[in-house]
Amino acid sequence: MSGKLSVRNVAIAVLLLALVLLPVYVELGGSRFLLTLFTRILILAMAAVSLNLILGYGGMMSFGHAAYLGIGGYAVGMLAHEGVFSGFVQWPVALFASALFALVIGALSLRTRGVYFIMITLAFAQMAYYIVAGLARYGGDDGLTIYKRSQFISPINLSNKVQFYYICLAVLIGSIYLVWRIVNSRFGLTIQGARSNDTRMRAIGFPTYRYKLVCFVIAGTMCGLAGALLANHTDFVSPATMYWTRSGDLIIMVVLGGMGSAFGPFFGAVALLVLEEVLSGITEYWQIILGPLLLLVVLFARGGIDGLLGKVRHRVSHG
């Protein structure tokens, strides 16, 4: 992160400040809906940040990342359905299940490269979708309502919307920090080297497969936590969360925000979800605009928002 006062860093600071102050604004008469919207944005931003670890830094194009949102969510939902409401049980199970799924899927998928890898991860995520949709006991296709949010010891109360918002914000910041530390560590440089030139990495002595697998598991686990949060947020969980097009949404967030930094996906999530809200207010058929817009971003603004901010800085300091 270069230059303390760069446009990009200022943008991040402003955004963070705005997010911290949002509940205050809502309390002072702003729309309650904003709180709900932004809680959702925070959770999905966390999912996108976890995806960026393997996608942006690791070069592993997983098209099945939304599966972990579902796995984490269903861990909470299923346990709640069986009468286990303690977050101290639900959340570790969510993390463990996600990690296990990532381990198995990753071990198989990482044997392939490029477009095969894309297709495999997509297919495995769909498998998870179908399995869950077939579980009649837990709602099947219709989904499962969660009547009581994860219980922790008081004063923590997830049903308190403001408290829940700040918890999500804290977890998000924590994840971004964690990802940032990981990518700059020896492990992170190994992953980045493997993305840059896997053959060379193996030639100089790195057994890249195991590093990529561990990275895959970390990302999946992180997203599982996001899934647990999401289930609490919506008080509901359904297979639709895991449908492969939702994985596509996550990828869009990452690319739109910028894959080169830990913060990028955060911008992407905010941008995409706010854009969705705004556009759907204009027309019911807003995806007709989003679709081609995405294509244009891919063709002309590949660095995403992060990249654009970086360019602004460049122009400013050389202007």
Partner: protein
């Protein structure tokens, strides 16, 4: 001087083609030994077998007294045998220093460290800077590798091979694609390195070979047809007929 590398009746076939034919040769510690030969002589195949990229069909390779024939590629660099590549293969989107530091990191234990900033680890960055300085790229350390010229890429290749603190370097055509100025620089660098390392140099650039080599081995169709001091090789009639004649005609 004891032999650091001993190659014992090495053979490699690709279908009907014998790329390495019962090859026998030795490299003494501290010498710069050049391997020359016409295209198709099996030079790159030889390096591939020495570095562990290709397994030989028969024969043995001894390095520093041990038989390394069965040892896999990534383990050979741990033993002190490093190699540069004929076709540049770098981490173009990382910085020059990052490239070399990764080569250092590969031999600094496992990399399952998740917290410390690896770019601040002196254990990794210092040897990397030293290697870069030795090849003359010290000033370019913080640039992205993609910003370097082709000649500088060859230098970076060399730096990465050096980063593992090898005892012996296998250099596969380090001059490939270099202009006269860059070649001269590379020759100067190699002359410096010669003082501390044993080097096996595969090259087509005859000026460089004769300027640097302590001994030369001539390879034709996977076989050694002559080994000896540069003057002896230059005057060897067999070698002339098979190879040097064409070369001199080509270089005018």
């Amino acid at each position: 001087m004891a032999d650091l590398l001993r190659v014992d009746t090495l053979t490699k076939r690709f279908g009907g083609i014998v790329a390495t034919d019962d090859l026998v040769f030795n490299i003494a510690e501290g010498e710069l030994h050049a391997v020359i030969g016409p295209n198709g002589a099996g030079k790159t195949t030889l390096i591939a077998q020495l570095s562990g990229q290709l397994p030989p069909d028969s024969g043995r390779i001894h390095f520093a007294g041990s038989d390394i024939t069965a040892i896999p590629m990534y383990a050979r660099s741990a033993l002190g045998l490093a190699r540069s590549f004929q076709i540049t293969s770098l981490f173009l989107d990382l910085s020059v220093l990052d490239n070399v530091a990764l080569a250092v990191q590969a031999h600094a234990g496992h990399s399952f460290h998740f917290w410390r900033n690896a770019r601040r680890e002196a254990e990794l960055r210092d040897p990397a800077r030293v290697a870069l300085a030795r090849v003359g790229l010290g000033a370019r350390a913080d640039l992205p590798a993609s910003a370097l010229s082709h000649g500088e890429h060859r230098q970076l290749e060399l730096a990465m091979a050096l980063a593992s603190s090898p005892r012996m370097l296998l250099l596969d055509e380090p001059m490939a694609g270099l202009g006269p100025e860059e070649s001269a620089r590379m020759v100067a660098t190699l002359r410096e390195l010669k003082k501390e390392l044993t080097i096996l140099l595969v090259e087509h650039d005859m000026e460089a070979v004769f300027a640097l080599a302590d001994r030369i081995t001539v390879l034709v169709y996977g076989r050694v047809i002559a080994t000896g001091k540069p003057e002896d090789i230059r005057n060897n009639a067999q070698v002339r007929d098979a190879y040097l004649g064409e070369q001199e005609a080509a270089h005018g």
